[in-house]
Amino acid sequence: MSAARRCRPPRALSGLFVWCLRNTGVRQIPCRFVHLYHVANGRLITFQYFNFLKRMYVTQCNRDLNQRVKPKSDSAVCPFHALQQLDQEKKVVHEISPVSPVHQSETSSRNELREIKLAAETEDSVLLVGAESKEDRQWKEMKLQLDDLPGILARLSKIKLTALVVSTTSAGFAMAPVPFELSCFLLASLGTGLASCAANSINQFFEVPFDSNMNRTKNRPLVRGQISPLLAVCFAASCGIPGIALLTLGVNPLTGALGAFNIFLYTCCYTPLKRMSIANTWVGAVVGAIPPVMGWTAATGSLDAGALLLGGILYSWQFPHFNALSWGLREDYSRGGYCMMSVTHPGLCRRVALRHCLALIGLSTVAPVLGITTWTFPVISLPINLYISYLGFRFYRDADRSSSRKLFFCSLWHLPMLLLVMFTCKKSVLEKEDKGDLSVGSHETAVKMRLP
Protein backbone atom coordinates (compact mmCIF):
# COMPACT_ATOMS: atom_id res chain seq x y z
CA MET A 1 0.00 0.00 0.00
CA SER A 2 1.47 3.28 -1.08
CA ALA A 3 2.90 5.87 1.17
CA ALA A 4 -0.26 7.12 2.75
CA ARG A 5 -3.85 7.21 2.10
CA ARG A 6 -6.21 8.97 4.35
CA CYS A 7 -9.84 9.52 4.66
CA ARG A 8 -12.05 11.19 7.11
CA PRO A 9 -13.80 8.69 9.30
CA PRO A 10 -17.51 9.08 9.94
CA ARG A 11 -18.09 11.63 12.62
CA ALA A 12 -19.43 9.06 15.02
CA LEU A 13 -16.05 7.36 15.05
CA SER A 14 -13.69 10.27 15.02
CA GLY A 15 -13.10 9.63 18.71
CA LEU A 16 -12.09 6.04 18.07
CA PHE A 17 -9.89 7.10 15.22
CA VAL A 18 -8.16 9.72 17.34
CA TRP A 19 -7.56 7.05 19.97
CA CYS A 20 -5.95 4.87 17.34
CA LEU A 21 -3.71 7.74 16.35
CA ARG A 22 -2.76 8.33 19.93
CA ASN A 23 -1.47 4.84 20.37
CA THR A 24 0.70 4.82 17.30
CA GLY A 25 3.64 5.92 19.38
CA VAL A 26 4.58 9.04 17.48
CA ARG A 27 7.12 10.61 19.76
CA GLN A 28 7.93 13.84 18.14
CA ILE A 29 4.81 15.89 18.82
CA PRO A 30 3.00 14.53 21.84
CA CYS A 31 1.30 17.84 22.64
CA ARG A 32 -0.62 17.81 19.34
CA PHE A 33 -2.66 14.84 20.48
CA VAL A 34 -3.96 16.83 23.42
CA HIS A 35 -5.43 19.32 20.98
CA LEU A 36 -6.91 16.53 18.89
CA TYR A 37 -8.39 14.73 21.83
CA HIS A 38 -10.19 17.66 23.38
CA VAL A 39 -11.73 18.99 20.23
CA ALA A 40 -15.28 17.88 19.61
CA ASN A 41 -15.97 19.71 16.39
CA GLY A 42 -15.41 17.63 13.28
CA ARG A 43 -13.88 20.43 11.20
CA LEU A 44 -11.28 21.28 13.82
CA ILE A 45 -10.22 17.66 14.04
CA THR A 46 -9.60 17.64 10.32
CA PHE A 47 -7.53 20.77 10.51
CA GLN A 48 -5.42 19.60 13.44
CA TYR A 49 -5.06 16.17 11.95
CA PHE A 50 -4.02 17.70 8.68
CA ASN A 51 -1.43 19.76 10.50
CA PHE A 52 -0.18 16.66 12.20
CA LEU A 53 0.05 14.81 8.91
CA LYS A 54 1.69 17.77 7.23
CA ARG A 55 4.33 17.88 9.93
CA MET A 56 4.83 14.16 9.65
CA TYR A 57 5.35 14.33 5.93
CA VAL A 58 7.30 17.55 6.01
CA THR A 59 9.49 15.81 8.56
CA GLN A 60 10.06 12.94 6.23
CA CYS A 61 10.68 15.24 3.29
CA ASN A 62 13.12 17.26 5.34
CA ARG A 63 14.88 14.09 6.29
CA ASP A 64 15.28 13.39 2.60
CA LEU A 65 16.62 16.87 2.09
CA ASN A 66 19.25 16.41 4.77
CA GLN A 67 20.64 13.17 3.45
CA ARG A 68 20.68 13.95 -0.22
CA VAL A 69 24.25 14.12 -1.46
CA LYS A 70 23.84 17.31 -3.49
CA PRO A 71 20.72 19.13 -2.45
CA LYS A 72 19.63 21.99 -4.57
CA SER A 73 17.50 24.07 -2.22
CA ASP A 74 18.97 26.34 0.43
CA SER A 75 16.94 24.96 3.31
CA ALA A 76 19.34 22.03 3.48
CA VAL A 77 22.12 24.32 4.64
CA CYS A 78 20.55 25.61 7.86
CA PRO A 79 19.46 22.19 9.22
CA PHE A 80 23.08 21.12 8.94
CA HIS A 81 24.25 23.92 11.24
CA ALA A 82 21.51 23.17 13.74
CA LEU A 83 22.45 19.50 13.56
CA GLN A 84 26.02 20.25 14.55
CA GLN A 85 24.83 22.29 17.51
CA LEU A 86 22.61 19.46 18.64
CA ASP A 87 25.40 16.93 18.28
CA GLN A 88 27.45 18.95 20.73
CA GLU A 89 24.51 19.15 23.10
CA LYS A 90 24.04 15.43 22.90
CA LYS A 91 27.70 14.74 23.59
CA VAL A 92 27.38 16.76 26.81
CA VAL A 93 24.25 14.84 27.77
CA HIS A 94 25.95 11.53 27.12
CA GLU A 95 28.86 12.37 29.39
CA ILE A 96 26.60 13.43 32.22
CA SER A 97 24.45 10.29 32.15
CA PRO A 98 25.86 7.52 34.36
CA VAL A 99 27.85 4.63 32.94
CA SER A 100 25.50 1.70 32.57
CA PRO A 101 24.74 -1.18 30.19
CA VAL A 102 24.30 -0.11 26.60
CA HIS A 103 20.54 -0.45 26.50
CA GLN A 104 19.87 1.50 29.67
CA SER A 105 22.19 4.36 28.87
CA GLU A 106 20.64 4.58 25.48
CA THR A 107 17.12 4.86 26.88
CA SER A 108 18.14 7.35 29.57
CA SER A 109 19.98 9.51 27.10
CA ARG A 110 16.99 9.19 24.85
CA ASN A 111 14.73 10.41 27.66
CA GLU A 112 16.98 13.33 28.37
CA LEU A 113 17.13 14.04 24.70
CA ARG A 114 13.38 14.06 24.57
CA GLU A 115 13.26 16.70 27.29
CA ILE A 116 15.76 18.81 25.44
CA LYS A 117 13.70 18.36 22.31
CA LEU A 118 10.56 19.68 23.92
CA ALA A 119 12.45 22.55 25.46
CA ALA A 120 14.37 23.56 22.37
CA GLU A 121 12.60 25.34 19.56
CA THR A 122 14.43 23.72 16.68
CA GLU A 123 12.86 21.86 13.78
CA ASP A 124 11.52 18.38 14.53
CA SER A 125 13.17 16.94 11.46
CA VAL A 126 16.66 17.93 12.54
CA LEU A 127 16.08 16.53 16.02
CA LEU A 128 14.90 13.23 14.64
CA VAL A 129 17.92 12.89 12.41
CA GLY A 130 20.28 13.74 15.27
CA ALA A 131 18.78 11.31 17.79
CA GLU A 132 18.65 8.46 15.35
CA SER A 133 22.25 8.79 14.21
CA LYS A 134 23.42 8.62 17.83
CA GLU A 135 21.51 5.40 18.45
CA ASP A 136 22.54 4.01 15.10
CA ARG A 137 26.25 4.09 15.85
CA GLN A 138 25.99 1.57 18.67
CA TRP A 139 26.14 -2.21 18.55
CA LYS A 140 22.99 -3.72 19.93
CA GLU A 141 22.10 -7.12 21.25
CA MET A 142 19.73 -9.01 19.00
CA LYS A 143 17.48 -10.12 21.77
CA LEU A 144 13.79 -9.49 21.79
CA GLN A 145 12.96 -6.78 24.31
CA LEU A 146 9.45 -7.49 25.49
CA ASP A 147 8.68 -3.98 26.65
CA ASP A 148 9.62 -2.63 23.24
CA LEU A 149 7.51 -5.23 21.49
CA PRO A 150 4.28 -3.22 21.08
CA GLY A 151 6.18 -0.35 19.48
CA ILE A 152 8.14 -2.72 17.28
CA LEU A 153 5.01 -4.51 16.11
CA ALA A 154 3.30 -1.19 15.49
CA ARG A 155 6.13 -0.13 13.23
CA LEU A 156 6.25 -3.55 11.58
CA SER A 157 2.58 -3.41 10.70
CA LYS A 158 2.78 0.25 9.67
CA ILE A 159 0.05 1.00 12.15
CA LYS A 160 -0.57 4.53 10.94
CA LEU A 161 -1.11 3.38 7.40
CA THR A 162 -3.34 0.60 8.69
CA ALA A 163 -5.41 3.16 10.56
CA LEU A 164 -5.86 5.14 7.36
CA VAL A 165 -6.86 2.02 5.45
CA VAL A 166 -9.41 1.17 8.14
CA SER A 167 -10.85 4.66 7.92
CA THR A 168 -11.19 4.25 4.16
CA THR A 169 -13.08 1.02 4.79
CA SER A 170 -15.36 2.73 7.27
CA ALA A 171 -16.04 5.41 4.68
CA GLY A 172 -17.11 2.68 2.30
CA PHE A 173 -19.33 1.19 4.98
CA ALA A 174 -20.87 4.56 5.80
CA MET A 175 -21.66 5.31 2.17
CA ALA A 176 -23.56 2.08 1.65
CA PRO A 177 -27.30 2.70 1.37
CA VAL A 178 -28.30 0.53 4.32
CA PRO A 179 -29.11 1.37 7.92
CA PHE A 180 -25.97 1.62 10.01
CA GLU A 181 -25.15 -1.41 12.17
CA LEU A 182 -22.49 -0.94 14.79
CA SER A 183 -21.50 -4.58 15.31
CA CYS A 184 -21.04 -5.25 11.62
CA PHE A 185 -19.11 -2.04 11.25
CA LEU A 186 -16.73 -2.88 14.11
CA LEU A 187 -16.15 -6.39 12.83
CA ALA A 188 -15.42 -5.15 9.34
CA SER A 189 -13.02 -2.50 10.61
CA LEU A 190 -11.21 -4.90 12.89
CA GLY A 191 -10.92 -7.54 10.19
CA THR A 192 -9.61 -5.06 7.66
CA GLY A 193 -7.14 -3.66 10.19
CA LEU A 194 -5.77 -7.11 10.95
CA ALA A 195 -5.50 -7.96 7.26
CA SER A 196 -3.68 -4.71 6.60
CA CYS A 197 -1.23 -5.39 9.48
CA ALA A 198 -0.48 -8.80 8.04
CA ALA A 199 0.09 -7.46 4.54
CA ASN A 200 2.38 -4.67 5.73
CA SER A 201 4.43 -7.08 7.86
CA ILE A 202 4.99 -9.43 4.96
CA ASN A 203 5.94 -6.50 2.78
CA GLN A 204 8.62 -5.44 5.26
CA PHE A 205 9.78 -9.04 5.57
CA PHE A 206 10.42 -9.18 1.83
CA GLU A 207 12.17 -5.88 1.56
CA VAL A 208 14.87 -5.81 4.27
CA PRO A 209 18.01 -5.04 2.22
CA PHE A 210 16.19 -2.55 0.02
CA ASP A 211 14.69 -0.74 2.97
CA SER A 212 18.09 -0.41 4.59
CA ASN A 213 19.35 1.41 1.52
CA MET A 214 16.60 3.99 1.32
CA ASN A 215 16.48 6.96 3.64
CA ARG A 216 12.75 6.84 4.12
CA THR A 217 12.67 3.25 5.32
CA LYS A 218 15.98 2.51 6.97
CA ASN A 219 14.61 2.58 10.51
CA ARG A 220 12.19 -0.26 10.18
CA PRO A 221 12.30 -2.99 12.83
CA LEU A 222 13.54 -5.80 10.59
CA VAL A 223 16.27 -3.58 9.15
CA ARG A 224 17.46 -2.67 12.63
CA GLY A 225 17.37 -6.26 13.82
CA GLN A 226 14.90 -5.54 16.59
CA ILE A 227 12.85 -8.53 15.55
CA SER A 228 13.67 -11.76 13.75
CA PRO A 229 12.18 -12.57 10.34
CA LEU A 230 10.54 -15.64 11.84
CA LEU A 231 8.71 -13.54 14.37
CA ALA A 232 7.63 -11.11 11.67
CA VAL A 233 6.13 -13.94 9.64
CA CYS A 234 4.43 -15.43 12.70
CA PHE A 235 2.99 -12.04 13.57
CA ALA A 236 1.73 -11.61 10.04
CA ALA A 237 0.10 -15.03 10.11
CA SER A 238 -1.43 -14.41 13.52
CA CYS A 239 -2.93 -11.15 12.25
CA GLY A 240 -3.92 -12.24 8.80
CA ILE A 241 -5.60 -15.54 9.53
CA PRO A 242 -7.88 -14.27 12.30
CA GLY A 243 -8.51 -11.11 10.29
CA ILE A 244 -9.68 -12.93 7.21
CA ALA A 245 -11.59 -15.46 9.31
CA LEU A 246 -13.32 -12.61 11.10
CA LEU A 247 -14.27 -11.03 7.81
CA THR A 248 -15.49 -14.28 6.26
CA LEU A 249 -17.41 -15.62 9.23
CA GLY A 250 -18.36 -12.49 11.11
CA VAL A 251 -19.26 -10.24 8.19
CA ASN A 252 -19.71 -12.05 4.91
CA PRO A 253 -17.66 -14.33 2.63
CA LEU A 254 -17.41 -11.72 -0.10
CA THR A 255 -15.61 -9.26 2.19
CA GLY A 256 -13.36 -12.05 3.43
CA ALA A 257 -12.50 -13.03 -0.12
CA LEU A 258 -11.74 -9.42 -1.02
CA GLY A 259 -9.52 -9.10 2.05
CA ALA A 260 -7.58 -12.25 1.21
CA PHE A 261 -7.26 -11.17 -2.40
CA ASN A 262 -5.98 -7.78 -1.32
CA ILE A 263 -3.33 -9.32 0.91
CA PHE A 264 -2.25 -11.56 -1.95
CA LEU A 265 -2.20 -8.66 -4.39
CA TYR A 266 -0.12 -6.52 -2.10
CA THR A 267 2.43 -9.08 -0.93
CA CYS A 268 2.80 -11.34 -3.93
CA CYS A 269 2.11 -8.97 -6.80
CA TYR A 270 2.87 -5.41 -5.83
CA THR A 271 5.98 -6.03 -3.72
CA PRO A 272 7.94 -8.12 -6.23
CA LEU A 273 6.60 -6.06 -9.14
CA LYS A 274 8.07 -2.90 -7.62
CA ARG A 275 11.46 -4.11 -8.72
CA MET A 276 10.46 -5.47 -12.08
CA SER A 277 8.26 -3.02 -13.93
CA ILE A 278 6.41 0.26 -13.59
CA ALA A 279 3.10 -1.60 -13.68
CA ASN A 280 3.42 -1.84 -9.91
CA THR A 281 1.84 1.59 -9.50
CA TRP A 282 -1.39 0.43 -11.12
CA VAL A 283 -1.46 -2.72 -9.02
CA GLY A 284 -0.81 -0.62 -5.93
CA ALA A 285 -3.69 1.67 -6.85
CA VAL A 286 -6.01 -1.34 -6.98
CA VAL A 287 -4.71 -2.41 -3.57
CA GLY A 288 -5.65 0.99 -2.24
CA ALA A 289 -9.04 0.94 -3.91
CA ILE A 290 -10.20 -2.37 -2.46
CA PRO A 291 -10.70 -1.36 1.23
CA PRO A 292 -13.65 0.96 0.61
CA VAL A 293 -15.16 -1.72 -1.61
CA MET A 294 -14.74 -4.08 1.31
CA GLY A 295 -16.50 -1.62 3.58
CA TRP A 296 -19.38 -1.41 1.15
CA THR A 297 -19.72 -5.18 0.74
CA ALA A 298 -19.55 -5.57 4.50
CA ALA A 299 -22.59 -3.33 4.79
CA THR A 300 -24.65 -4.54 1.85
CA GLY A 301 -23.27 -7.98 1.12
CA SER A 302 -22.94 -7.41 -2.60
CA LEU A 303 -20.74 -5.66 -5.11
CA ASP A 304 -22.89 -2.80 -6.33
CA ALA A 305 -22.05 -0.06 -8.76
CA GLY A 306 -21.65 2.19 -5.73
CA ALA A 307 -18.88 0.01 -4.36
CA LEU A 308 -17.07 0.13 -7.67
CA LEU A 309 -17.49 3.89 -7.84
CA LEU A 310 -15.97 4.37 -4.40
CA GLY A 311 -13.17 2.04 -5.35
CA GLY A 312 -12.73 4.00 -8.55
CA ILE A 313 -12.45 7.27 -6.68
CA LEU A 314 -9.74 5.86 -4.45
CA TYR A 315 -8.01 4.25 -7.41
CA SER A 316 -7.83 7.55 -9.21
CA TRP A 317 -6.68 9.34 -6.09
CA GLN A 318 -3.67 7.06 -5.67
CA PHE A 319 -2.02 8.38 -8.82
CA PRO A 320 -1.60 12.07 -8.06
CA HIS A 321 -0.75 11.09 -4.50
CA PHE A 322 1.92 8.55 -5.25
CA ASN A 323 3.35 10.11 -8.40
CA ALA A 324 3.85 13.42 -6.63
CA LEU A 325 5.51 11.68 -3.67
CA SER A 326 7.80 9.58 -5.83
CA TRP A 327 8.97 12.63 -7.74
CA GLY A 328 11.10 13.69 -4.78
CA LEU A 329 12.49 10.20 -4.14
CA ARG A 330 13.98 9.55 -7.56
CA GLU A 331 17.54 9.18 -6.36
CA ASP A 332 16.67 6.61 -3.71
CA TYR A 333 14.49 4.65 -6.11
CA SER A 334 17.16 4.65 -8.76
CA ARG A 335 19.86 3.44 -6.41
CA GLY A 336 17.59 0.93 -4.70
CA GLY A 337 16.54 -0.59 -7.99
CA TYR A 338 12.85 0.25 -7.83
CA CYS A 339 11.09 0.64 -11.16
CA MET A 340 8.96 3.71 -10.71
CA MET A 341 7.44 5.92 -13.36
CA SER A 342 9.04 9.00 -11.88
CA VAL A 343 12.48 7.56 -12.65
CA THR A 344 12.04 5.74 -15.97
CA HIS A 345 9.07 7.48 -17.58
CA PRO A 346 8.81 10.94 -16.05
CA GLY A 347 6.53 12.27 -18.75
CA LEU A 348 4.12 9.39 -18.28
CA CYS A 349 4.27 9.93 -14.53
CA ARG A 350 3.02 13.48 -14.80
CA ARG A 351 0.47 12.71 -17.52
CA VAL A 352 -1.05 9.91 -15.47
CA ALA A 353 -1.27 12.10 -12.38
CA LEU A 354 -3.10 14.81 -14.30
CA ARG A 355 -5.33 12.32 -16.07
CA HIS A 356 -6.51 10.85 -12.80
CA CYS A 357 -7.06 14.24 -11.19
CA LEU A 358 -9.48 14.96 -14.02
CA ALA A 359 -10.99 11.50 -13.65
CA LEU A 360 -11.88 12.39 -10.08
CA ILE A 361 -14.11 15.18 -11.37
CA GLY A 362 -15.80 12.73 -13.71
CA LEU A 363 -16.29 10.11 -11.02
CA SER A 364 -17.75 12.67 -8.63
CA THR A 365 -20.32 13.51 -11.29
CA VAL A 366 -21.25 9.86 -11.77
CA ALA A 367 -22.04 9.44 -8.06
CA PRO A 368 -25.52 11.01 -8.13
CA VAL A 369 -26.32 9.16 -11.36
CA LEU A 370 -25.84 5.89 -9.51
CA GLY A 371 -27.97 7.15 -6.65
CA ILE A 372 -25.30 7.15 -4.01
CA THR A 373 -25.36 10.86 -3.38
CA THR A 374 -27.55 13.79 -4.22
CA TRP A 375 -26.71 16.21 -7.01
CA THR A 376 -25.21 18.65 -4.55
CA PHE A 377 -22.16 16.41 -4.28
CA PRO A 378 -20.58 17.13 -7.69
CA VAL A 379 -21.39 20.80 -7.19
CA ILE A 380 -19.78 21.08 -3.77
CA SER A 381 -16.85 18.85 -4.61
CA LEU A 382 -16.11 20.73 -7.83
CA PRO A 383 -13.91 23.39 -6.18
CA ILE A 384 -11.62 20.88 -4.47
CA ASN A 385 -11.51 18.64 -7.51
CA LEU A 386 -10.69 21.60 -9.71
CA TYR A 387 -7.98 22.69 -7.32
CA ILE A 388 -6.25 19.33 -7.31
CA SER A 389 -6.57 19.18 -11.08
CA TYR A 390 -5.01 22.61 -11.29
CA LEU A 391 -2.11 21.46 -9.13
CA GLY A 392 -1.89 18.34 -11.25
CA PHE A 393 -1.66 20.51 -14.33
CA ARG A 394 1.04 22.63 -12.72
CA PHE A 395 2.94 19.46 -11.87
CA TYR A 396 2.52 18.29 -15.45
CA ARG A 397 3.80 21.52 -16.85
CA ASP A 398 6.54 22.49 -14.39
CA ALA A 399 7.74 19.03 -13.28
CA ASP A 400 9.73 20.36 -10.38
CA ARG A 401 10.01 19.67 -6.69
CA SER A 402 7.76 22.48 -5.49
CA SER A 403 4.84 21.55 -7.73
CA SER A 404 5.17 17.88 -6.79
CA ARG A 405 5.14 18.74 -3.10
CA LYS A 406 2.13 21.02 -3.51
CA LEU A 407 0.25 18.26 -5.30
CA PHE A 408 1.21 15.70 -2.67
CA PHE A 409 0.08 17.84 0.26
CA CYS A 410 -3.11 18.71 -1.55
CA SER A 411 -3.86 15.02 -2.04
CA LEU A 412 -3.53 14.51 1.70
CA TRP A 413 -6.44 16.77 2.54
CA HIS A 414 -8.34 16.34 -0.70
CA LEU A 415 -9.36 12.75 -0.10
CA PRO A 416 -10.75 13.16 3.43
CA MET A 417 -12.59 16.28 2.40
CA LEU A 418 -14.05 14.57 -0.66
CA LEU A 419 -15.22 11.61 1.40
CA LEU A 420 -16.66 13.92 4.04
CA VAL A 421 -18.60 15.88 1.44
CA MET A 422 -19.76 12.61 -0.08
CA PHE A 423 -20.98 11.44 3.28
CA THR A 424 -22.88 14.63 3.96
CA CYS A 425 -24.44 14.47 0.50
CA LYS A 426 -25.33 10.83 0.87
CA LYS A 427 -28.76 10.03 -0.38
CA SER A 428 -30.75 9.20 2.72
CA VAL A 429 -32.11 5.67 3.07
CA LEU A 430 -35.59 7.03 3.84
CA GLU A 431 -35.83 8.57 0.41
CA LYS A 432 -35.10 5.20 -1.10
CA GLU A 433 -37.80 3.54 1.00
CA ASP A 434 -40.36 5.93 -0.44
CA LYS A 435 -39.26 5.02 -3.93
CA GLY A 436 -39.97 1.29 -3.80
CA ASP A 437 -41.46 -0.92 -1.10
CA LEU A 438 -40.43 -4.13 -2.84
CA SER A 439 -36.78 -3.26 -2.81
CA VAL A 440 -37.01 -2.38 0.90
CA GLY A 441 -38.58 -5.72 1.67
CA SER A 442 -35.82 -7.64 -0.06
CA HIS A 443 -33.25 -5.41 1.64
CA GLU A 444 -34.59 -6.28 5.08
CA THR A 445 -34.51 -9.98 4.40
CA ALA A 446 -31.02 -9.62 3.02
CA VAL A 447 -29.99 -7.85 6.22
CA LYS A 448 -31.50 -10.63 8.33
CA MET A 449 -29.76 -13.35 6.33
CA ARG A 450 -26.40 -11.63 6.55
CA LEU A 451 -26.08 -11.60 10.30
CA PRO A 452 -24.81 -14.89 11.75
Binding site: V69, K70, P71, K72, D136, R137, Q138, W139, K140, E141, M142, K143, F205, F206, V208, P209, S212, N213, K218, V223, R224, G225, S228, P229, L230, V233, P272, R275, M276, R330, E331, Y333, S334, R335, G337, Y338, C339, V343, T344, P346, A399, D400, R401
Partner: protein, 147 residues
Protein backbone atom coordinates in the same frame (compact mmCIF):
# COMPACT_ATOMS: atom_id res chain seq x y z
CA UNK B 1 30.00 -7.35 21.70
CA UNK B 2 30.81 -8.63 25.17
CA UNK B 3 32.30 -12.08 25.48
CA UNK B 4 29.74 -13.45 27.91
CA UNK B 5 26.76 -12.62 25.70
CA UNK B 6 24.58 -15.50 24.48
CA UNK B 7 22.90 -13.74 21.61
CA UNK B 8 23.72 -12.24 18.26
CA UNK B 9 24.74 -8.63 18.03
CA UNK B 10 23.80 -6.21 15.28
CA UNK B 11 25.88 -3.18 14.46
CA UNK B 12 25.51 0.21 12.83
CA UNK B 13 24.91 0.37 9.07
CA UNK B 14 27.94 -0.31 6.97
CA UNK B 15 29.34 2.76 5.25
CA UNK B 16 29.30 1.23 1.79
CA UNK B 17 26.39 -1.17 1.78
CA UNK B 18 24.08 0.46 4.35
CA UNK B 19 23.41 -3.01 5.71
CA UNK B 20 23.82 -3.74 9.38
CA UNK B 21 26.42 -6.46 10.06
CA UNK B 22 25.51 -9.20 12.49
CA UNK B 23 27.95 -11.08 14.70
CA UNK B 24 26.54 -14.53 15.28
CA UNK B 25 26.79 -16.28 18.58
CA UNK B 26 28.02 -19.87 18.33
CA UNK B 27 26.65 -21.85 21.26
CA UNK B 28 28.94 -24.64 22.55
CA UNK B 29 26.40 -27.40 21.88
CA UNK B 30 25.23 -26.23 18.50
CA UNK B 31 23.16 -28.83 16.71
CA UNK B 32 23.60 -29.57 13.01
CA UNK B 33 20.37 -27.74 12.23
CA UNK B 34 21.43 -24.64 14.13
CA UNK B 35 24.77 -24.71 12.38
CA UNK B 36 23.02 -24.81 8.99
CA UNK B 37 20.92 -21.84 10.01
CA UNK B 38 23.91 -19.82 11.14
CA UNK B 39 25.83 -20.64 7.98
CA UNK B 40 22.86 -19.71 5.83
CA UNK B 41 22.58 -16.36 7.59
CA UNK B 42 26.30 -15.73 7.26
CA UNK B 43 26.23 -16.58 3.60
CA UNK B 44 23.25 -14.33 2.96
CA UNK B 45 24.91 -11.51 4.87
CA UNK B 46 28.13 -11.86 2.91
CA UNK B 47 26.35 -12.01 -0.42
CA UNK B 48 24.17 -8.99 0.39
CA UNK B 49 27.18 -7.05 1.59
CA UNK B 50 29.10 -7.83 -1.61
CA UNK B 51 26.23 -6.82 -3.85
CA UNK B 52 25.28 -3.58 -2.15
CA UNK B 53 28.82 -2.39 -1.49
CA UNK B 54 29.68 -2.85 -5.15
CA UNK B 55 26.38 -1.39 -6.33
CA UNK B 56 26.54 1.70 -4.15
CA UNK B 57 30.15 2.31 -5.03
CA UNK B 58 29.29 2.09 -8.73
CA UNK B 59 26.38 4.47 -8.18
CA UNK B 60 28.52 7.05 -6.45
CA UNK B 61 31.27 6.80 -9.03
CA UNK B 62 28.97 7.05 -12.01
CA UNK B 63 27.14 9.94 -10.42
CA UNK B 64 30.40 11.85 -9.95
CA UNK B 65 31.41 11.13 -13.52
CA UNK B 66 28.05 12.27 -14.81
CA UNK B 67 28.15 15.50 -12.84
CA UNK B 68 31.71 16.14 -13.93
CA UNK B 69 30.93 15.58 -17.59
CA UNK B 70 27.83 17.75 -17.46
CA UNK B 71 29.58 20.55 -15.64
CA UNK B 72 32.40 20.44 -18.15
CA UNK B 73 29.89 20.63 -20.98
CA UNK B 74 28.44 23.71 -19.36
CA UNK B 75 31.90 25.14 -18.90
CA UNK B 76 31.91 25.06 -15.10
CA UNK B 77 34.35 23.58 -12.63
CA UNK B 78 33.62 21.06 -9.89
CA UNK B 79 34.01 23.72 -7.24
CA UNK B 80 33.03 27.33 -7.75
CA UNK B 81 34.67 30.48 -6.34
CA UNK B 82 33.45 30.06 -2.76
CA UNK B 83 34.80 26.49 -2.64
CA UNK B 84 31.35 24.89 -2.59
CA UNK B 85 30.75 21.82 -4.68
CA UNK B 86 28.84 22.69 -7.82
CA UNK B 87 25.65 20.72 -8.28
CA UNK B 88 23.23 19.93 -11.05
CA UNK B 89 19.57 20.48 -10.51
CA UNK B 90 17.06 17.67 -10.08
CA UNK B 91 15.98 17.57 -13.72
CA UNK B 92 19.49 17.04 -14.99
CA UNK B 93 20.14 14.38 -12.37
CA UNK B 94 16.89 12.65 -13.38
CA UNK B 95 18.47 11.64 -16.66
CA UNK B 96 21.28 9.97 -14.81
CA UNK B 97 18.90 8.18 -12.46
CA UNK B 98 16.92 6.84 -15.36
CA UNK B 99 20.02 5.54 -17.14
CA UNK B 100 21.40 3.98 -14.01
CA UNK B 101 18.18 2.18 -13.22
CA UNK B 102 17.72 0.77 -16.71
CA UNK B 103 21.36 -0.31 -16.87
CA UNK B 104 21.17 -2.20 -13.61
CA UNK B 105 17.75 -3.73 -14.03
CA UNK B 106 18.98 -7.18 -14.99
CA UNK B 107 21.44 -7.20 -12.12
CA UNK B 108 18.61 -6.36 -9.77
CA UNK B 109 16.37 -9.11 -11.13
CA UNK B 110 19.07 -11.67 -10.48
CA UNK B 111 19.72 -10.27 -7.01
CA UNK B 112 16.01 -10.30 -6.21
CA UNK B 113 15.80 -13.99 -6.99
CA UNK B 114 18.82 -14.74 -4.82
CA UNK B 115 17.58 -12.60 -1.98
CA UNK B 116 14.11 -14.20 -1.94
CA UNK B 117 15.70 -17.66 -1.95
CA UNK B 118 18.01 -16.74 0.95
CA UNK B 119 15.20 -15.12 2.89
CA UNK B 120 12.81 -18.04 2.59
CA UNK B 121 15.52 -20.58 3.39
CA UNK B 122 16.66 -18.68 6.49
CA UNK B 123 13.14 -18.16 7.77
CA UNK B 124 12.27 -21.81 7.17
CA UNK B 125 15.38 -22.96 9.04
CA UNK B 126 14.55 -20.53 11.85
CA UNK B 127 11.13 -22.11 12.03
CA UNK B 128 12.62 -25.60 12.21
CA UNK B 129 15.08 -24.57 14.91
CA UNK B 130 12.34 -22.93 16.93
CA UNK B 131 10.16 -26.02 16.62
CA UNK B 132 12.97 -28.35 17.72
CA UNK B 133 13.76 -26.10 20.67
CA UNK B 134 10.11 -25.95 21.69
CA UNK B 135 9.77 -29.74 21.55
CA UNK B 136 12.96 -30.15 23.53
CA UNK B 137 11.70 -27.73 26.17
CA UNK B 138 8.36 -29.55 26.39
CA UNK B 139 10.12 -32.89 26.81
CA UNK B 140 12.32 -31.39 29.54
CA UNK B 141 9.22 -29.97 31.26
CA UNK B 142 7.50 -33.35 31.14
CA UNK B 143 10.57 -35.04 32.63
CA UNK B 144 10.75 -32.49 35.41
CA UNK B 145 7.05 -32.80 36.18
CA UNK B 146 7.34 -36.59 36.29
CA UNK B 147 10.25 -36.35 38.72
Amino acid sequence: PPAHSHSDWIGPPDRLSNLRPVIFYVPPEESALERRLREARQEAQASNQRFWARHNRAFRQEKEEFIYSRLKAKGLEMRDESGQKATLNAEEMAEFYKDFLTKNLKKHLQYNRDWYKHNFRITFLMGQVALVRALRWLRWRKKNVQQ
